[in-house]
């Protein structure tokens, strides 16, 4: 049986139901990547709408759009969604979309575990948000500080969903990280040594290492909170001797590495997009790798800079201030390397490059304001003001989300086979860029004027009305940009220009195979001779792109793919519904912990049944020949 290229959009043989079934049972990393992508996009839009409602309330002083209670729920859920359902899974989105392609692998190490990660992510996200429907969402802020989040102070059921949702999501994040680390360690194509890996792969490697060390700590904190809320333990009961710093330490030991988990995928994307569109190899490859390693290492030693104002004393403050400033050095190295890569390059300002360039700019601004509150005396002025809100939106939206846009314009065509529209892309870019700065730049000023964050309104006499109105207008311009993006995406699926295998004159292996790639990715596992493996091959005319020429950048399609010595027989992983069932069992058990032990039992029964079936089911299907 020959599988044709383009399995991602192969017309379903048995109609709608069989298409749905194919997606529910898929174990193909490319499809799972698309599932992740659409899911993350959905949560991003939801969290964005929440933010827009917040901005309506803040547009005028003493406004009555929202009650204080709803305001608190909205900002908490906005922050939680953006961090745990958009930023954290960004690594899994892009890793699924391109990581195996970039290292010359046919899939991930554990395809069914990969599907499981996705389904657990989906159900975890639903659990996290279920509080809205069950009578009110969590309202303590995305940091969930205990003891504020313990039962005496937060009775709402939304808190239960928040805690359980995050525990479940943590499982998904860790499972995905383990899977990709094994893939990177063990499935690189011959010749793909560590120091030849594309920087995107390096960035994701560092992210996943951070995940497996940081998430267990968060899980422990959440378990303590859970036990306090449900089983009467006294971890955060101050009257019984519990200490509220316990939560803060555990949360930030996780939390600071978490911010690198959020930003490093962006660094990876920039390190691929910038050289490609500057038509130059990345400047200082080894220093880039070293810098990421240093960031990961130092990232675990700075957590208490979130606690400067809690009375740690001068020694603690000094030490954490120092380590925080140190971490700026490797970060600066990266910025300089990107700039040096652009320097003297023949830059093509296509949409991915526009977003990448803007990311560097906005990230510098966000980094500078971050350096300011690395200093304890300054931080004690800025803490809990809008200055901090400005700072983290510059790094998270300006850094992470803008880079994700770059990554989507750059790589999504590899999976769908269709380019996004350049013209719409430019509208998207400019509306977003202008809207973003109108929204978040004035927040620095408001913060300096003393406007606290997490307040549902402010008095007219404070004089903050004008800037707040400007911010709200900016937010809606930004939203318009996002709408254009959504339209562009949907449009590209039907009417997008065919991407061809190598639309950007790429440097890395994913551009050497058709778009969309066949189920098994590579007909023959490529042999790698250096960095920028595909570019080298093109330069030396060793191989021409497979599956038709490329758009715009003519590379005379040469002799075609060299027929290898003897066709390989490829065994593909077998589609399976078990990951979905297992994830469902976990979710049911999670709901049960909130409502009734009988439901826990039901959930566990499903889970255990699925585990047994998993162990018995053969993982591979019959042979698929790579070529007719």
């Amino acid at each position: 049986m020959a599988v044709s290229a383009g399995t991602l959009r192969r017309p379903a043989e048995g109609g709608l139901w069989s298409t749905v079934w194919e997606w529910l049972t898929t174990v193909d990393h490319k499809r799972i990547g698309l599932l992740y992508f659409w899911t993350v996009l959905f949560w991003f839009l939801l969290a964005g709408v929440e933010a827009l409602i917040l901005r309506l309330q803040l547009a005028r002083p003493d406004a009555g759009v929202l009650t204080p209670a709803v305001y608190n729920q909205l900002y908490t859920m906005h922050g939680t969604l953006m961090v745990f359902l958009v930023g954290t899974p960004a690594a899994s989105v892009f890793a699924n979309m391109v990581l195996p392609l970039m290292i010359g692998a046919r899939d991930v190490a554990f395809p069914r575990l990969n599907a499981l990660s996705y389904w657990v992510f989906l159900f975890g996200g639903i659990l996290l948000n279920a509080g809205w429907l069950a009578g009110g969402a969590f309202d303590v802020g995305w940091t969930g500080y205990a003891n504020m989040s313990t039962r005496p102070f937060t009775q709402s059921i939304g808190a239960n969903f928040w805690v359980m949702g995050l525990i479940v999501l943590g499982l998904s994040t860790m499972a995905s990280a383990f899977n990709f680390l094994v893939t990177i360690i063990n499935m690189r194509a011959p010749g793909m040594t560590l120091m030849r890996m594309p920087l995107m792969v390096w960035a994701l490697t560092v992210v996943f290492i951070l995940v497996i060390f940081a998430f267990p700590v968060l899980t422990v904190a959440l378990i303590f909170l859970w036990f306090d809320r449900f089983y009467g333990t006294r971890f955060f009961d101050v009257a019984a001797g519990g200490n509220v710093f316990l939560w803060q330490h555990l949360f930030w030991v996780f939390g600071h590495p978490e911010v690198y988990i959020l930003i490093l995928p962006a660094f990876g994307i920039l390190s691929e997009v910038i050289p490609t569109f500057s038509r130059k190899p990345i400047f200082g490859y080894s220093t880039m790798v070293l810098a990421m390693g240093a960031i990961a290492f130092l990232g675990f030693s700075v957590w208490a800079h979130h606690m400067f104002t809690t009375g740690m004393g001068p020694v603690g403050n000094f030490a954490f201030s120092l380590s925080t400033m140190l971490i700026a050095i490797p970060t600066g190295v990266k910025v300089f390397n990107w700039l040096a890569t652009m320097w003297g390059g023949r830059i093509r300002w296509r949409v991915p490059m526009l977003f990448a360039g803007a990311t560097v700019l906005l990230f510098i601004l966000g980094g500078l304001s971050g350096m300011m509150h690395a200093s304890p005396p300054i931080d004690s002025q800025q803490q809990d003001t809008y200055f901090v809100v400005a700072h983290f939106h510059y790094v998270l939206f300006g850094g992470l989300v803008m880079a994700m846009f770059a990554g989507v314009y750059y790589w999504l065509p590899k999976l769908t086979g269709r380019l996004l529209d350049e013209g719409l892309g430019k509208w998207h870019f400019w509306l977003t860029f202008i809207g973003f700065n109108l929204t978040f730049f004035p927040m620095h000023i408001l913060g300096a004027l003393g406007m606290p964050r997490r307040i549902y309104t402010y008095p007219a006499e404070a004089g903050w009305g004008g800037l707040n109105l400007l911010i709200t207008i900016g937010a809606y311009i930004l939203a318009l940009g996002i709408l254009v993006f959504a339209y562009n995406l949907l449009r590209s699926l039907r009417k997008g220009e065919p991407a061809g295998s190598d639309p950007w004159d790429g440097r890395t292996l994913e551009w050497s195979i058709p778009s969309p790639p066949p189920e098994y990715n590579f007909e023959e596992i490529p042999v790698v001779h250096g960095r920028d493996a595909w570019w080298e091959q093109k330069r030396q005319r060793r191989v021409a792109p497979v599956g038709g020429g490329s758009n715009g950048d003519p590379h005379a399609p040469g002799e075609g793919h060299q027929p290898g010595p003897g066709r390989e027989v490829i065994h593909l992983p077998k589609p399976s519904i078990i990951p979905l069932v297992l994830a469902l069992g976990l979710a049911v058990a999670g709901v049960g912990t909130i409502y009734h032990p009988a439901v826990i039992a039901l959930g566990l029964a499903i889970t255990i049944g699925a585990i047994v079936a998993w162990a018995i089911e053969p993982p591979l299907q019959g042979a698929v020949h790579s070529k007719e």
Partner: protein, 204 residues
């Protein structure tokens, strides 16, 4: 768990991997590295609370001879586990079954000890609800017990599978990986025993 795409043949053939190590083994090492942080956080919480929060006098509650015995039992189970791995690799299936079963029984013995211990602690008024130290103690040792339980179930299912031809010298790797997990859980207990029972009892 699955193997990746194999270039030829069926289950028994392992795909050549970059490091030469089996995927599942690498996965287990990564998981254990991550689990260190899980137990590390639990132990750190216990120590931080035991040092500064007024609580039940632990040296009066703990029964060190009993816990020493169960620590010894768990250590012995590591020996039988190592022997099971060795027999699996050298194709001595009968011997492997005996050692697997011995490991399972020692693990169950340990769990029974823990149940006994928990029961007596609560009779003495040391419970998860009495104070933060109690919460930290029971959460830490409880999660360790849960790890042991998973290990016991896993080893027992390997034991059963070996009769159905599920474990052969070719996939002795399963026994090896379960062994890695089991040794890790033992080592964690040694740390808990030292830090919580021996040193911890002298805090405060």
């Amino acid at each position: 768990m699955e193997k990746s795409l194999t270039p030829h043949g069926h289950e028994a053939v392992h795909p050549p991997t970059t490091t030469g190590e089996d995927h599942r083994k690498v996965l287990m090492w990564l998981f254990l590295a991550s689990d260190v942080l899980f137990f590390g956080s639990l132990i750190a919480t216990f120590v931080a609370y035991a040092q500064r929060v007024p609580h039940t006098p632990l040296h009066e509650v703990f029964n060190i001879p009993i816990t020493s015995w169960s620590a010894f039992v768990l250590l012995m189970s590591s020996v039988t586990m190592a022997l099971a791995v060795w027999s699996a690799h050298s194709g001595k299936m009968g011997l492997m079954r005996i050692y697997l079963l011995a490991t399972v029984l020692l693990g169950v013995h340990f769990l029974a000890d823990q149940g006994y211990e928990f029961y007596h602690f609560t009779l003495d008024g040391f419970t998860p609800r009495v104070n933060p130290v109690g919460s930290a103690f029971f959460t830490l040792t409880g999660f360790h017990g849960a790890h042991v339980t998973v290990g016991v179930l896993w080893l027992f299912s390997l034991f059963l599978a070996s009769f159905r031809g599920g474990i052969t010298p070719k996939n002795a790797i399963w026994v090896e990986i379960a062994g890695l997990y089991w040794h890790f859980v033992d080592v964690v207990w040694i740390v808990i025993f030292a830090v919580v029972y021996l040193i911890g009892a002298s805090f405060y």
